[in-house]
């Protein structure tokens, strides 16, 4: 078959005959030309059967030549790049293209599942609900898997997409959807006036219907006019022409979504390039020149391969020089359809007959028929005799009642045109019905948007140019552009005459929605069963819910519904239109944000040093934090963490705590400000001292905690938890700007300015003596617990030193400007080597805080009060603060609240797990007896057993009580003792020492 192209016409077409391209369809090799789509290349090679239908596995061919195609869906490419449900009508041909038909087994020609047709009576609308209701448990295990195997479309690749996608923004005065006559005219007017224009065209060539329908504009052949218009536009620096780009949605504030198929026309995107790009276009105005979609007429056998939209047939013949059939019959109810007969004759093809549903045809067409030697039949196509090999015979019921038969291998159908009303209706707009063209047209549009040309129901070429030009000029004017727009392109308006015809009664299946196999009788059944509203009709029959979103079927479906329910079409109405206009790959929406780039990552100043040390990192929000530092020979994380804890408790260790939020609070009222946001006082804090602070939400629940130091009269340095850093900054800004604008206070995040390390353990001072300038007094007297001040380091660098402890050991936190952070880690290692210094990670940090009974994220969980955390006494009674009043509510001060308490297993060898529920001894686990749960657990190297913290009803009053820890998730149930939450050094001597 290679190089055959038996149905390629000898002349014409916008194909490059000097560039032949080989491709494979279902394993067979064919050839086409550059400029072909897969569909046109298949047409040129005489391939009529391209797929099997969704439900009945009926043989299907190519119906259209555009993105409205319901039938010719293929799996494009192979392996990881396999792309199911790709429309052959828009897939650009490239050398080596591989495509496979879908939904058939074992082959397209012999499909076992086509027996479904024999069972067609049970596959009617709503059959899932009717047939598979009983027994209920069979649904998930038997029915659904079986149905999924039998029905459905292409297969997903099943492996990760190897290609890249990205997203970009664009800005313009006027965005234009579509480059047909209206779109080009709009672009010319707007561009000439000086507007910034973005012209989006989903095809790979500009021109829209002009590519297929020729005509004359400004006295020039359309192709020449298009070339001139494009050249003029390309010369304008602020006009951007985007081919292979579909404007698919409109969003708030004049933002439009567009998908650019950057490299879909190549087998593999070139290195460093993306496959597709998602555009967010911000436009002051938008002209929708998206054209119209020719609509089918529903009749028995209308899905037979070889039945094709009349305009699509002209596209294949004129644009692609490919003959869909040798002997063509035309079934039309309007004047425009006749152009297909003219086109066929001009291309040297035979016209078998024209079946015209109108009472009369023009004298010009009559003479065309007599010259062409074909008959004009007044009536309608009642049935098609054919199958997977195509059409054999067409049966016609004549308007007099008689029947006729036409022998043809192709049937062109034109039922009129539906303006593409999607974009204009996406903000819940409902299109309005126009009787004169028997079609829905836009009734208003989202702000800034206007439809022009065929998309607005103007079907004549002259009218399209006029509307487009005027819309483009007005849009530019509205955007403030006033340059000269030059002269308007002019063309004749063709006569428009249509007699509405939606459905021809006949024997056999007549398809409304070919992709979802919804027939006219399904629509009638839905009406009989009460699903008369179009929204119900849609859901019950799945009409219009396939990947084509009913572009060729919706209007016919509701017209049939209108007829059977005795209403008019506008009374029946349309369903809601929603974006996207064409399917958009999820990968394009994700863009760069996949795998390790799923979100931005934050690295601490000592990150790369920690990586060198072999640290295991944990994701904490956006941060990568060193979780522990395994050493050779350690068998698991617990062994490493236990070693780190012991090293700190017996010697000295350090941990990067730069992830804590850090905020500079400046100004004469800084102290007063902090008094209001914290429950405890800060205005009374002496310069050079630090204090632990707790802040509440407005509702009295604890928001965040941290240490705040006073570095100068008018300068505090506030720290937050890692998790809440950004939120606390927002909260404080809100307090400053909105709640307390009278206070003179300034806030700056300095989280990234400082590298901060916690240095802990009894040998901390010995270590610091090596790092800090010998002139600095680090004794208890010179630098007491909770002291905070600037110190000089050896080598002259200034640092901030805070004597605070999270571990319960003698500890300091030291801050240096971030670019010295890595040097600080290295220097601590050097200076601490004789002391056996040990870097520790977040796990050891957590173990030591649990041993000390310090609360953290699991306890500050958005439901606890200061009292619950054992910090109720911190709530100042001498001042007001955020959350004070609401914290006094009855329920928040009730005596039976769940409060923080220590928990240890009665069996010392048992491991605790957080999440286990606390149940009183002897009670049955359940919501009625649930008294709280274990919030944090760790293995305590000091106590040599697992310990935990929990939130337990009246926990502090029940110290010593044995209760049940019930863990249905892990199937565990064991006894634990409620105990003091401070497991280690309860009087705090070590941290003060």
């Amino acid at each position: 078959m290679r190089g055959d192209q038996a149905n390629r016409l000898n002349n014409g077409g916008l194909i490059d005959r000097s560039t032949p391209l080989n491709f494979r369809f279902d394993g067979k090799t064919f050839s086409g030309f550059k400029g072909d789509t897969l569909a046109s290349a298949l047409v040129a090679n005489g391939v009529k059967l391209v797929g099997r239908s969704f439900k009945y596995h009926r043989p299907r061919g190519i119906l259209t030549a555009g993105s409205e195609e319901p039938n010719a869906l293929v799996e494009l490419r192979s392996g990881a790049r396999r792309e199911p449900n790709t429309k052959a009508t828009t897939a650009e041909l490239y050398e080596g293209l591989e495509a496979a038909s879908q939904n058939r087994w074992p082959s397209l020609n012999f499909d076992v599942m086509s027996v479904n047709q024999l069972f067609a009576p049970i596959f009617v609308a709503g059959f899932y609900y009717k047939t598979f209701m009983w027994p209920a448990k069979f649904w998930e295990t038997i029915y659904e898997p079986a149905i999924r195997r039998a029905a459905g479309l292409g297969r997903a690749a099943g492996v990760s997409d190897p290609d890249h996608y990205d997203k970009a923004w664009a800005h313009c005065d006027v965005a234009i959807a579509g480059s047909g006559p209206a779109g080009l005219a709009a672009a010319l007017a707007a561009g000439r006036s000086g507007a910034r224009v973005i012209l989006c065209e989903e095809d790979f060539v500009l021109g829209g219907r002009l590519l297929a329908d020729g005509d004359t504009i400004d006295g020039l052949p359309a192709s020449e006019w298009v070339a001139r218009a494009v050249a003029e536009l390309e010369a304008m620096p602020d006009v951007r022409i985007m081919t292979r780009t579909t404007l698919f949605g409109v969003y708030d504030g004049g933002t439009y979504g567009a998908i650019e198929r950057v490299n879909d026309h190549l087998p593999v995107p070139p290195e460093h390039q993306v496959r597709q790009r998602l555009w967010r276009i911000v436009a002051k105005r938008c002209v929708v020149a998206a054209g119209a979609i020719e609509r089918p007429i529903v009749f028995a056998g209308n899905d037979t391969p070889g039945v094709m939209m009349a305009s699509a047939m002209r596209s294949y013949i004129n644009r692609y020089a490919a003959a869909p059939a040798r002997r063509i019959a035309l079934f039309t109810n309007n004047e425009d359809g006749w152009r297909t007969a003219e086109t066929a004759i001009a291309a040297g093809l035979q016209v078998a007959a024209v079946i015209d549903a109108r009472p009369d045809v023009s004298p010009a067409h009559r003479s065309l028929a007599s010259k062409g030697g074909f008959s004009v039949l007044h009536g309608a196509v009642a049935g098609v005799d054919g199958g997977k090999g195509g059409i054999r015979k067409i049966s016609v019921s004549l308007s007099g009642g008689a029947r006729a038969e036409v022998e043809a291998d192709g049937l062109a159908v034109s039922g009129g045109w539906n303006p593409a009303v999607g974009l204009t209706s996406y903000h819940r707009g409902r299109p309005k019905w126009r009787d004169d063209i028997a079609a829905f047209v836009p009734d208003g549009a989202p702000p800034g948007m206007v439809a022009a040309g065929a998309a607005n129901g103007a079907f004549g070429l002259g009218a399209c140019l006029r509307e487009g030009f005027e819309a483009g000029a007005a849009a530019a004017r509205d955007a403030g552009r006033s340059g000269s727009i030059g002269s308007m392109p002019v063309a004749d308006d063709e006569a428009f005459s249509l007699t509405p015809l939606w459905h021809v009664a006949g024997k056999g299946k007549a398809f409304v929605d070919q992709q979802h196999d919804v027939t006219a009788s399904d629509v009638e059944l839905a009406q009989r069963e009460g699903f008369e509203s179009v929204e119900h009709l849609k859901r019950y029959t799945t009409l219009g819910m396939a990947t084509d979103q009913g572009k060729t079927s919706n209007v016919a479906g509701l017209a049939i519904m209108a007829a059977v329910s005795g209403k008019s079409i506008p009374e029946t109405g349309t369903t809601i239109y929603r974006p996207p206009y064409v399917p958009v790959a999820i990968g394009a929406f994700a863009g760069h944000h996949r795998d390790e780039n799923f979100h931005a990552t934050r690295l601490t100043p000592s990150h790369h040093w920690a990586a060198e040390q072999g640290a295991i990192f944990v994701d904490t929000g956006l941060w990568k934090r060193a979780q522990w530092y395994p050493r050779a020979g350690e068998k698991d994380w617990l062994e490493s963490v236990t070693r780190e804890v012991k090293a700190v408790r017996s010697g000295v260790g350090f941990c990067d705590v730069s992830t804590l939020g850090k905020i500079d609070v400046h100004g004469p009222d800084a102290g007063a400000f902090l008094d209001r946001v914290y429950i405890n006082a800060f205005s009374s804090l002496a310069v050079g001292k630090a204090r632990y602070g707790l802040m509440l939400r407005e509702d009295g629940i604890v928001y965040d905690d941290g240490t705040t130091s006073r570095l100068a009269e008018d300068h505090y340095f506030l720290t937050t938890t890692t998790a809440k850093a950004g939120l606390v900054m927002q909260h404080l800004e809100f307090c400053r700007q909105v709640l307390f604008p009278e206070l003179d206070v300034q806030l700056t995040s300095v989280s990234d300015q400082w590298a901060q390390f916690s240095i802990a353990g009894p040998k901390t001072r010995d270590l610091l003596k090596e790092v800090v300038d010998p002139g600095e007094d680090l004794s208890n007297e010179g630098f007491p617990f909770m002291g905070a001040r600037e110190v000089a380091l050896r080598g002259g660098l200034k640092a901030r030193l805070f004597r605070i402890s999270f571990s319960g050991e003698m500890a300091f936190e030291i801050s240096v400007p971030a670019r010295y952070g890595e040097a600080m880690a290295r220097n601590l290692m050097i200076a601490g080597k004789p002391l056996g210094i040990t870097p520790y990670g977040t796990e050891a940090l957590g173990v030591m805080r649990i041993e000390k009974g310090h609360v953290a994220g699991p306890e500050l969980n958005g439901t606890t009060t200061a009292g619950d955390l054992g910090l109720g006494k911190m709530m100042s009674t001498k001042k007001d603060f955020i959350g004070r009043v609401m914290a006094g509510r009855e329920a928040l001060t009730a005596s039976n609240r769940q409060v923080v308490v220590g928990i240890k297993p009665t069996d010392k060898a048992r491991r605790l797990r957080s999440g286990a529920h606390i149940i009183p001894k002897g009670e049955t686990p359940g919501p009625d007896n649930d008294q709280g749960y274990i919030t944090s657990v760790c293995f305590s190297p000091v106590l040599d057993q697992w310990i935990g913290l929990g939130l337990v009803e009246r926990g502090r009053e029940r110290i010593g009580e044995i209760v049940r820890a019930h863990d249905p998730l892990r199937g565990e149930d064991y006894d634990v003792e409620l105990c003091n939450s401070v497991f280690y050094d309860p009087d705090g001597g070590r941290q003060r020492g």
């Binding site: 690295l603 300015q753 040097a823």
Partner: protein, 206 residues
């Protein structure tokens, strides 16, 4: 006593590899990290915006921006960062926080951000095309001229973006990004720029 030194490590020191990256041929995007700058946040105290402006004018010889703009003084750039606040970007300690503390004593609060940000300068024929992938800001020359500035986000990361003076006829876009996000954003920038070809370098010159 241990022998150690205080080497500086910038947030992009490891990720930045000077030279060519991405598509071959003439680089469409040029990326330069500017290292070791001084950056001070100046925030007028309540009711002291006028005094702050006067002090800035006296110090820098130009008025500090009151709208999203960046203005170049002889030895510093003042970048708008919010109502009644701006950043002072300079080199070699000429406008360190210690020296500015005297200038703005009583009128403004200062916060040192010298280590809190990385500064990346973007230019080249394709600079706008690349930045369009990261920024929702319209960078058309008629809209975002020399001196235009924006406090915005790129790749979900806060950045301060401004257009500096053209260099060899080409627009220069500067972006200040928080230091701990810098490596992550850098990789995103490289991914976005790769198709245009990139030339990468670093400089101590503002």
């Amino acid at each position: 006593m241990a022998d150690f030194s205080w080497d500086i490590r910038g947030p992009l020191d490891r990720a930045l590899v000077a030279g060519a990256y991405g598509a071959q041929g003439d680089a469409g995007v040029s990326l330069t990290e500017i290292r070791n700058f001084d950056l001070v946040q100046v925030m007028a105290r309540r009711g002291k915006a006028g005094e702050t402006a006067k002090a800035a004018k006296a110090r820098f010889g130009i008025a500090a921006p009151e709208t999203p703009r960046a203005v170049a003084a002889a030895d510093a750039t003042l970048i708008w960062s919010g109502p009644d606040q701006f950043l002072v970007l300079s080199k070699d300690g000429r406008h360190s926080i210690e020296s500015l503390a005297i200038v703005f004593a009583g009128s403004a609060s200062l916060s040192d951000q010298s280590h809190a940000r990385a500064l990346i300068s973007v230019s080249g024929d394709k600079a706008r095309a690349m930045l369009a992938k990261l920024s929702s800001i319209d960078l058309h020359p008629d809209v975002f001229g020399v001196g235009a500035a924006a406090a915005t986000s790129m790749d979900h990361t806060s950045v301060t973006l401004w257009r500096g003076n053209d260099r060899s006829g080409q627009a220069v876009f500067n972006l200040l990004v928080f230091a701990t996000f810098a490596e992550s954003l850098w990789h995103t920038i490289l991914d976005s720029a790769a198709e245009y070809g990139v030339t990468i370098g670093h400089s101590e010159e503002l």
